[in-house]
């Protein structure tokens, strides 16, 4: 259903499962750098359901973090979300914009990309929030941890206190008040009650002595504790969708498991949907209900965990799965995929399967743009951007092994 061909004629939200909270269609993000246009995210489509953990997995440089940032409109210059829709289910919001922006509303869904900038910003916190990879650099070093969490609580409170919530956020806090708050130490954006809530949240994420630790600065926390605080901050707005971008990569192995357990416990308690972004297939296998595999800015295969892990269709997914060491059978099964991740420079991409130059099963069919095919007639969830979903591999059509060496300049000098 979510063929790229459908994008042009589409009106309204894509069809999907009734439990969907998020439906993303053809999301594209470009970076306009001095070296040229970088297609970091290329026509990405997926859905996220109530209370599930959706995993996005890929190597570094595959565009998964940019996808996360694109969802909550935090792509910095020189990057820009250039196309696509992010349909988010929120009945109140849909009601508010049904008349003003009919294109942006479909049933209970709103396309956040079509909403005004201020409203998009206001969705951060109560609708979407994010846990970042490196907690140490993701918290302001000169503000106490409790204060930073209390800010997130306060944002949420001010938004819900006012029925016209989407606009109340940016108003009511101007320069004058800020200057007064800065000069008078006892005043602040945050109130005592939001600070108390911050302490509760710290307790909830398992930080001992939360009341004392709330008044400490990030440099006084260990990495694992700080990531817990970061999660507390992300939960402060009681978000519908929590995006976790490599939440354990910067941590020690022993701490990683604790953080993952914490995330899962919290997610089960609150029923929050989680988008889990990682390069670690182990994390995916352990945490996720459904998964999308990213390569060169595209989701090359997606489906339920068992679809993707047990019956992978795309040779890239197969290669990726082949590259994890098997604990039961530590024989040398580690087979890294040959070649490099493409540079994603627009001029070097060409209209073909981006994986074809590394693919052991590349065929002449792969030299044209590939759309998402239904990979499994039994399941309407499993799709792959690979011709092998439709046909068998045939030696007769295979590309000669040196096809790309002959036709393309070697660009492996960086």
């Amino acid at each position: 259903m979510s063929d790229t061909a459908a994008a042009g004629e589409s009106r309204g939200a894509p069809a999907g499962h009734p439990d969907d909270v998020l439906r993303v269609r053809d999301l594209s993000t470009r970076f306009f750098t001095e070296e040229g246009q970088v297609n970091a995210v290329e026509s990405v489509s997926f859905t996220v359901r109530d209370g599930e953990i959706f995993g996005i997995v890929g190597e570094s440089g595959s565009g998964k973090s940019v996808t996360a940032l694109s969802l909550i409109d935090l792509v910095d210059s020189p990057g820009r979300v250039t196309g696509g829709e992010v349909w988010y289910r929120d009945a109140d919001l849909a009601e508010e914009f049904r008349d003003r922006l009919p294109d942006a509303v479909d049933g209970e869904f709103v396309d956040t990309r079509r909403l005004p900038k201020g409203v998009r910003r206001a969705l951060r916190g109560p609708a979407f929030s994010m846990v970042f990879q490196d907690p140490m650099s993701s918290l302001n070093p000169s503000v106490t941890v409790g204060e930073q969490i209390a800010e997130a609580v306060e944002v949420q409170r001010r938004a819900t206190a006012n029925p016209r919530r989407t606009r109340s956020r940016t108003q009511g806090y101007g320069m004058g008040k800020l200057i007064a708050d800065t000069l008078l130490p006892n005043r602040g954006f945050t109130s005592e009650s939001s600070m108390n809530r911050a302490i509760e949240l710290l307790e909830q994420v398992g930080i001992p002595d939360p009341a004392e630790r709330a008044h400490e600065y990030p440099h006084q926390f260990s990495g694992g504790m700080l990531q817990r605080a970061m999660i507390a901050q992300a939960l402060a707005g009681e978000p519908d969708v929590l995006i976790a971008d490599e939440p354990t990569t910067a941590l020690d192995v022993t701490i990683q498991a604790q953080i993952l357990n914490l995330l899962r416990d919290l997610q089960e308690q609150a029923g929050t949907s989680v988008v889990m972004i990682t390069h670690d297939l182990g994390v995916i296998a352990r945490m996720c209900n459904r998964v999308g595999v990213m390569y060169a800015g595209q989701i090359v295969e997606r489906g339920t965990l068992s679809d993707v892990f047990e019956t992978p269709v795309h040779p890239y997914t197969q290669g990726l799965l082949g590259s994890i060491p098997d604990l039961d059978d530590p024989a040398p099964r580690l087979q890294p995929i040959e070649g490099n991740v493409p540079s994603l420079l627009d001029e070097e991409m060409g209209g073909r399967c981006f994986f074809a130059d590394r693919c052991p099963k590349a065929m002449t069919d792969c030299l044209q743009p590939i759309s998402e095919y239904d990979a499994d007639p039994g399941s309407d969830e499993h799709t792959a951007r690979c011709v092998l979903a439709e046909r068998e591999f045939s030696e007769a059509d295979a590309l000669p092994p040196d096809h790309f060496d002959r036709n393309e300049e070697v660009r492996g000098d960086e």
């Binding site: 951060r124 997130a152 806090y173 800065t182």
Partner: protein, 330 residues
């Protein structure tokens, strides 16, 4: 380490630097060729007269005795007497100090009030016309000698347009305050005071406006690229708070340090600004003292300026530690 201990440590270091300043001034007197007697004694003074003057000034004592005497006198606030007017140097220096402070404070106010908004606008609207205007202004500002700027301002606003006086200090801040209850009409006094202060304050303040604009701009660009900015936005904080509570505050930490180091430049700039506007402050007094070889006045001025620098830097450190708690922790 607590905040109090941190300040105490800085204070002790400050006393050390003050002692160094005082010692350097003492040493300067001795590398000065010629004897102070030559300056004080009449040209035709007899050997006995000279001997008597040497005894009076303590110049017949061994060097270390002179040094200890000098320190003891300083501790009692005695910095010697002007060779020219015989007024105690401390009295003369402290008489001239308020005018200089007034000028420096006015210039700093101008600089802070203009530069922080300029720097913030420049950084948040990077590569937009406002940024180009602010960066051009700041480049021009740090490249223009302030005495020449002062002369050009006089040329335009005093000579051609005749809206400000060319030089002099009409009233002091204290006199202006006194005029609220005094017999002179307050409005006239206040206007004259501000009018005479205006061009000197702009002259002295421009360099610092430009300097701080540059520092705030580059610091803020640096800070905006930090990971926490994105995370702070991700939790939905209004952009005003992201920019000012988080980013600007962190930007100001290094800016405050640099400004502490540049206080000397502010005082040096005040000296030459005073020369341009015939402003009756410490700078004019220093130049007069050098030309008249009135060493006690020069020494007194150097000591007062040095101690002022040390005190202000302790204040800056205190502010720094307040803005950035990590400083105290280290």
């Amino acid at each position: 380490m607590g905040y109090g201990r941190f300040l105490l440590k800085r204070g002790v270091q400050g006393v050390g630097v003050v002692w160094g300043v005082v010692t350097v001034v003492f040493v300067l007197r001795f590398i000065t060729p010629g004897s102070p007697i030559d300056t004080v004694a009449p040209l035709d003074a007899s050997q006995e007269t000279r001997q008597r003057i040497a005894e009076e000034l303590g110049l017949d004592q061994p060097l270390y005795v002179q040094y200890l005497d000098y320190l003891a006198e300083l501790l009692q606030g005695n910095m010697g007497y002007s060779y020219i007017s015989s007024i105690p140097a401390s009295v003369q220096v402290f008489q001239k100090l308020p005018a200089t402070l007034e000028l420096a404070v006015a210039a700093s106010l101008v600089a802070v009030a203009l530069s922080i908004p300029l720097g913030v606008i420049s950084a948040t609207r990077r590569h937009e016309p406002a940024d180009y205007a602010a960066t051009s202004f700041s480049l021009l500002g740090i490249s223009t000698p302030n005495f020449w700027l002062g002369i050009m301002l006089v040329l335009v606003f005093a000579v051609e347009l005749n809206v400000f006086p060319t030089s002099g200090r009409a009233y002091g801040f204290g006199q202006t305050l006194a005029a609220i209850t005094g017999p002179e009409p307050f409005f006239t006094v206040a206007t004259a005071w501000l009018a005479s202060l205006f061009l000197p304050a702009i002259t002295l303040g421009t360099y610092f406006t430009a300097l701080i604009t540059r520092l705030v701009r580059s610091g803020m660009l640096d800070e905006l690229s930090q990971g926490y900015v994105r995370a702070t936005r991700a939790k939905g904080l209004p952009e005003t708070l992201v920019r000012y509570k988080h980013v600007l505050r962190n930007t100001l930490v290094p800016v405050v340090t640099v400004l502490g180091l540049q206080l000397g430049t502010l005082i040096g700039g005040a000296v030459i600004t005073e020369a341009v506007f015939a402003w009756p402050g410490l700078g004019t007094e220093i130049i007069r003292a050098i030309n008249a070889r009135d060493w006690p006045i020069l020494q007194g001025s150097l000591i007062v300026i040095g101690c002022g620098f040390v005190l202000l830097n302790i204040a800056v450190d205190a502010l720094y530690a307040y803005l950035d708690p990590r400083v105290v922790a280290e």
